[in-house]
């Protein structure tokens, strides 16, 4: 999975999650779209769901065992969860790390 695959997956997963939120459904989702916090698309519960759905989907497709939300993610200087783009970057890094470990 390259970065653009990850982006696509984040966008479709977000669209699914937001389908139930009339105030936010259909809003454009781009690199810089804020996920959480002020002007964020998601509340904490939807953020947790997004992360878990992505984890399940990626691990299923890639036969990996990455954990997106853990103490490592929470202790980053800049939260990986601040925007769509930052989350994509973080996931790409996790996948690269896992590949390296496997090699």
């Amino acid at each position: 999975m390259n970065r653009s695959d990850v982006m696509d997956l984040i966008v479709t997963t977000l669209q699914d999650l937001l389908a139930s939120d009339p105030a936010r459904a259909g809003l454009p989702i781009e690199e810089g779209t804020r996920l959480y916090g002020p002007e964020g698309l998601l509340d904490s519960l939807r953020l947790v769901s997004l992360v878990l759905d992505l984890e399940q989907e990626i691990n299923d497709r890639m036969d990996t065992a990455i954990t997106i939300a853990d103490s490592r993610a929470m202790s980053q200087q800049r939260s990986p969860f601040r925007s769509v783009g930052s989350l994509a970057d973080y996931i790409v890094r996790l996948l690269a790390d896992e590949q390296q470990q496997a090699a």
Binding site: D16, L17, A19, S20, D43, S44, L45, L47, V48, S49, V51, L52, D53, Q56, E57, N59, D60, A69, D70, S71, A73, M74
Partner: protein, 460 residues
């Protein structure tokens, strides 16, 4: 005079009545009296003295009941062990310091063997010194290691001296379970009849109810869910049922309503009991209500920080392998979270099973009750899982009738939940599993088997 003289007198007054239907054959109280006498002779011959710790291996059968009564009358310490605890049998015998094992196989053939064991446990020694019969029950161990509760049998028998209705009762709970012992003693003390079933398949249970005109069905919410799912009630005449009792786990409200619809003539009663304190008399506000009044002459209850505490005359003497759970005044913390309305309480679930999502409490049973209403859902178990964001998250493991795409199913679950529960209760992790999620006692297993070596296929 033995401690069961009153009971044997009741049997003698109803010699031709059946005490048990076993493999569709009737056995009378006259037969039972005969077998108890035979066992007394055999126990004498085998030198099984009062105060001996005796393991009885077997499950509901005419001979097992006869032997059990003979052992109680003799003043032994009884350790019932059924096939459901097969893998733990040796461990349980060691904990209980079993000295004699009497096994009754599926053909009613028995064997007696001795174990070179000296009783060292102080609680057991004290009970033996008093001359009273004892009973050792093992907690189901759904939350860790099994604990062995030692009871004085005299305390458990006391409430059965008051005569009540004689009924035809289907046995369902195992004999090494407080509910199973309670059902048996209730039936025998009122010279009623126990109908046994080989299999807990809903259709076979319903067929037995129809054939023997069963009046009482003591069961669990999980079995009632399976009854609804299988639609076995449509294929059999269940009109003889006058009472359905359920306990051992919180009842999903939806299940109760549906059971009330399909069995309008039956009174639905919640029972409340624990291995440690015995079974309390209880009274549901109505058949479709989860509110219940518990207590009775021998029990006191109080609510502390939302948790039910009980003081019981029939309480166990203590655990054989754990510190006493009673406080200085003899109160026992049940660990069950309850809501209170006047004299009624509603059981919300085990305090230890409450899921804490960002500081808000979620009761697994409440979420399961909603999820079970979804089309294509056969069963579901809800648990908590640590999460760095919200502390814990709600995880739901589903059994489906027909396979479904996981991503689409996830969306369907969330859509279904949106208008039916607060957002924090909606499962964050949604899994489809293939293994059954209830134990041999038909109690929901929320603790999942270890990830390795099991048959727990999870589609993620």
């Amino acid at each position: 005079m033995g401690c069961l003289t009153w009971l044997f007198e009741r049997f003698a007054n109803e010699p031709s009545r059946n005490f048990m239907i076993w493999r569709d054959q009737p056995y009378t109280y006259a037969w039972l009296i005969e077998r108890v006498r035979e066992w007394e002779t055999r126990l004498d011959a085998a030198d099984v003295a009062p105060g001996t710790v005796v393991a009885l291996e077997g499950d509901y059968s005419p001979q097992v009941v006869a032997l059990m009564l003979a052992l109680i009358e003799r003043g032994t310490i009884l350790v019932p062990l059924t096939a459901s605890v097969e893998v733990h049998k040796e461990e349980f015998k060691q904990i209980a310091e079993v000295q004699v094992v009497i096994a009754i196989d599926t053909n009613e053939q028995s064997s007696i063997s001795r174990r070179p064991t000296e009783v060292r446990n102080d609680l057991t020694r004290k009970l033996i010194a008093s001359g009273d019969p004892g009973l050792v029950l093992f907690s189901s161990g759904s939350t860790g290691k099994s604990k062995a509760a030692l009871h004085n049998f005299i305390g458990l028998l006391e409430k059965f001296k008051t005569p009540r209705h004689s009924m035809i009762t289907l046995t369902f709970l195992l004999l090494d379970h407080i509910g199973g012992i309670n059902t048996l003693l209730y039936v025998l003390s009122n010279t009623g009849c126990v109908v046994t079933v080989e299999d807990r398949d809903p259709d076979k249970v319903c067929a037995a109810i129809e054939r023997h005109r069963v009046e009482v069905l003591p069961t669990s919410p999980t079995f009632l869910n399976l009854l609804l799912i299988s639609e076995a009630y449509k294929r059999h005449d269940l009109s003889s049922l006058k009472r359905v009792t359920y306990g051992t786990e919180p009842m999903p409200e939806h299940t109760l309503q549906r059971i009330h619809e399909i069995l309008p003539q039956a009174e639905l009663l919640q029972t409340y009991g624990l291995s440690e304190i015995g079974i309390m008399r209880s009274k549901s506000r109505s058949s479709n209500s989860l509110w219940v009044k518990v207590g009775g002459e021998d029990f006191e209850t109080r609510i502390q920080d939302g948790t039910l505490w009980i003081k019981a005359r029939s309480a166990m003497l203590g655990y054989l392998n754990a510190p006493s759970p009673f406080d200085a005044d003899g109160w026992f913390n049940t660990g069950d979270a309850v809501e209170v309305d006047g004299e009624y309480i509603r059981i919300l679930g085990r305090t230890s099973e409450i899921i804490n999502v960002g500081g808000q409490k979620v009761y697994p049973a409440e979420v399961e009750s909603v999820l079970l209403q979804m089309p294509n859902v056969r069963d579901v178990a809800v648990t908590g899982e640590p999460n760095p964001i919200t502390g814990q998250i709600v995880v739901a493991r589903f059994n489906l009738f027909e396979p479904e795409d996981v991503a689409q199913f996830r969306k369907r679950v969330r859509d279904f939940c949106r208008d039916r529960m607060a957002a924090f209760k909606i499962p964050a992790r949604i899994l489809i599993v293939e293994n059954e999620q209830y134990s041999q006692r038909f109690k929901k297993m929320r603790r999942q088997p270890a990830a390795t070596g099991g048959t727990n296929h999870e589609s993620q």
